[in-house]
């Protein structure tokens, strides 16, 4: 009966226009519709599948502004049992290390955690580093980029998929798993699930509640900051080469010129 914590994050909808704020290059959360990150829906789904097969409890954990409650409610409406929401203005502009520290402290507030499931990379920050940093901080084994997860007693087996190929990993619980896009198809919250979610407990914590000094987090003490941001330039027109019997040579010349071959 594993106790599972799922990390979720509210992100700007990838369908809407996403911007960084002009003043400090942090995410302009007001400019776009906010949704539960799709990869987190898969993380929640995986936790629910494990729970449905083996029992246990699923706790959703999110670090984010007050508005992130919507994402948390969605995870709860899918079927998670309860939630921990760390919300504190001091967190504004935190880097991945600061965020991971906060998450690690919050995981510590949940009793008897056997497994932490995260998405492998959020669609906004895209650093893809939090699961690994978190595992280090918690002292848990990390099994990242999972496309298949099997729990057998106190052992976890993961099929890890990266560009290099498939790796079969095995570790003892407790552990941190990050899941990739192919892990599953997340369920839609049912009517009953949405209604039930309204009554599920959400514990809201500040960084002080976690025993962290506000000065340790936030933009001012972040280990990385965005210095400059510019929108992706529009794709330039391609170069047209007339083939007069020497098309191959011309293409090779171009590729050499671009230092591609």
């Amino acid at each position: 009966m594993p106790n599972i914590v799922v990390l979720v994050k509210q992100v700007p909808d990838t369908y809407s226009e996403r911007r960084l704020s002009d003043s400090d290059h942090t995410l302009d959360r007001d400019s776009a519709d906010a949704v539960l990150d799709e990869i987190n829906e898969r993380a929640v789904e995986e936790a629910l599948l494990i729970k449905e097969a083996q029992g246990g409890e699923v706790t959703v954990l999110s670090v984010g502004p007050d508005r992130a409650t919507e994402a948390i409610r969605k995870a709860l409406s899918m079927g998670a049992d309860k939630a921990v929401h760390v919300s504190d203005p001091a967190l504004h502009g935190s880097c991945v290390i600061q965020t991971s520290k906060v998450i690690a402290a919050a995981v510590g507030k949940v009793d008897g955690v056997d497994l932490v499931i995260a998405g492998n990379e959020a669609t906004d920050g895209r650093s893809g580093a939090v699961p690994a940093i978190l595992a280090e901080l918690l002292g848990y084994p990390q099994l990242t980029h999972a496309r298949k997860v099997v729990i057998e007693g106190t052992t976890i087996k993961v099929t890890r998929e990266t560009d290099e190929g498939l790796t079969h990993l095995e570790a003892s619980l407790p552990a941190v798993v990050s899941v990739g896009e192919k892990i599953n198809e997340p369920r839609y919250p049912s009517f009953k699930g949405i209604m039930a979610a309204k009554k599920k407990p959400v514990e809201t914590l500040t960084v002080a509640d976690l025993g962290i000094d506000a000065g340790e987090v936030g933009l001012a003490s972040a280990t990385s900051t965005v210095v400059e941001a510019a929108p992706k330039p529009p794709r330039a027109a391609g170069q047209k080469v007339e083939d007069e019997g020497d098309g191959g040579a011309k293409i090779a010349e171009y590729l050499v010129g671009q230092k591609l071959i």
Partner: protein
Amino acid sequence: MSDYPTLFSPLRIGPLTAKNRVWMTAHSTQLVKDHNFTDEHVHYYAERARGGVGVITMEAMAVHPTTQPYKGKIFAFDPAVVPNYEKLAAAVHEHDTLLLAQPWHRGRETSGTVNRLPVWAPSSVPDVVYREMPHVLVDEEIDELVNGYVLAARHAVEGGLDGVEVHGLAHGYLLGQFLSPATNHRTDQFGGSFENRLRLILDIIARTRAETGRTKVVGVRINGSDGGVPGGLTNADWAKIARAIADTGLVDYISVTRGTYIERMDIYGATPQPAGFQVEDTARIKAAVPELPVVVVGRMNTPELAEQVLAAGQADMVGMARQLIADPEWANKARDGETTSIRPCVGANWCMASIVNSPLACVHNPAVGRELTLGVGTLTDAPAAKRVAVVGGGPGGMRAALTAAQRGHRVTLFEQDAELGGQVRLIGRSETYAEWQGITDWLISQLDRTDVQVQLKHRAEAAELLAEGFDEVVVATGSTPLKHGWSSLRPASWGDGTTVPGADQWNVHSVAEALSGKAQIGPRVFIFDDTGARQPVVAAEYLADRRHEVTLVTRLPQVAPDLEASRDLQATYRRVRGKGIRFITDHEVDAVVEDSVVLRDVWTGETTTHADVDAVVLSTGNAADDALYHALKGRLPVRAIGDCVSPRRIFNAIWEGELAGREI
């Protein structure tokens, strides 16, 4: 040199030469009066000839009174057609375009309602669509039939046409009924063996050629395959038939199409039939008759595809009907490198739907059938350039803005959303109907060529339009979905501000909300439809494609009966049922109670409760958003078009947009 060298090279077809490889294939126009051509026909065909088409085969014409599916059929056997042929030939030949007649008989694929005569067939097997038990042809009637083809050929020659295309083999029509063992159960000289089944056709071809002589073109229209008809003719069978026809030495070309009434999407492939869906079958026919020019059809929409198929030798001519309905200048635009201005056929099949009750129309070419007044070159400069505001960037508003701007007006187009396109953009969100977005994409691309000022995310209000000093306003503010849930069986409830109990719950959505992707919709969905139109099916498929379990409820005896007119009902049912969408007919919504839906049988009043329904989507029509029109009326010249007048179809919005743009 043209970007499409093969497409714009001439080709010898028997005794004559086509100036290029573009062939307008036969299609009904319903411009007919008294079984004969009208002046509208002359303008319709001349417009396509002027647009650069190499060969035109005019609409199928009856060889006998027993083939009259509807009133508007031309009698090719009646000498009264000859003077009109002369008019048509003069108008079309002016542009160096060949013009052919297409004599045909539908056999069992028609009804005797119009002509009060029995339908004819080789054997007594009813057609799937018309379901009328046919009369089995006797020898004397077969002679009459052959004579009808002879008369048709004679009149074509007398009227100065360039030849005839013998029709009736393809699409399961009468000669195809003789050819196919599935429908020919005869034991006489016209049934049984391949030779016997082909006998009548070879006789008709021989008699036709005897009538035309060698100075005119004689072609034959065949199928490349009957599609999935059990026991029907396959691609290999048709290749053998093509070979036998070619062996007569009497035929100058073969035009290949596909399908019978059992699967009409093979005939009039609408979205999502892919472009060039008949190319492979046709290429195998071409391989069987290498010495004859072969015409390929089937959503051959772009010059790129046309050139590719021709250059590969898969066919010699590219046939199209719907693309040339949508844009009569397709050929000239392709030739001149103006491909981006080609108005695409998006496969919406409004053409097919329109001819059920009226002359031919196109969902986004308002000039079809009205070429004299609205066709190419009829747009006049405005007497004085006015400042015009168009409010609403759906298809109607865009059309009005475009036409007004092309006439020299200074136009500002206001759209409250971040993008142009209106409800067409919503339909386009469904993978199946993504191509429909070609309607609005084309309008946007044409607006880009004008100096129309487009103001997005701008909801224009009356006070501001008055203050800005616009001379005229076109209101195209569209409509809002109704969500009261009442079916039209309860008209009184539409006016009293009530809803079906529970229709105001948060889990009840409109089709537009469902398609927007923004509504929170649970795994199991009931869609209720009162319209009979396409929208509920679009929403159902969109949701099923996203793993929802969908039940489509209609108070009608059939889901989306409107699709019968656009001829894609069968294909749509097959596709959506295959995606697991369930149908419940003859029911309306009695109540929504949390996640239960109570349905009422419209005939018996009996109710049934369906549990675990996470969301309900209502398709019960829209309300016109006409507030702006009424706020402006009487204060400055203002016109309302499209849904804000009364919520209807894309066609109506574009049609009214065009008229408004011309009137200002």
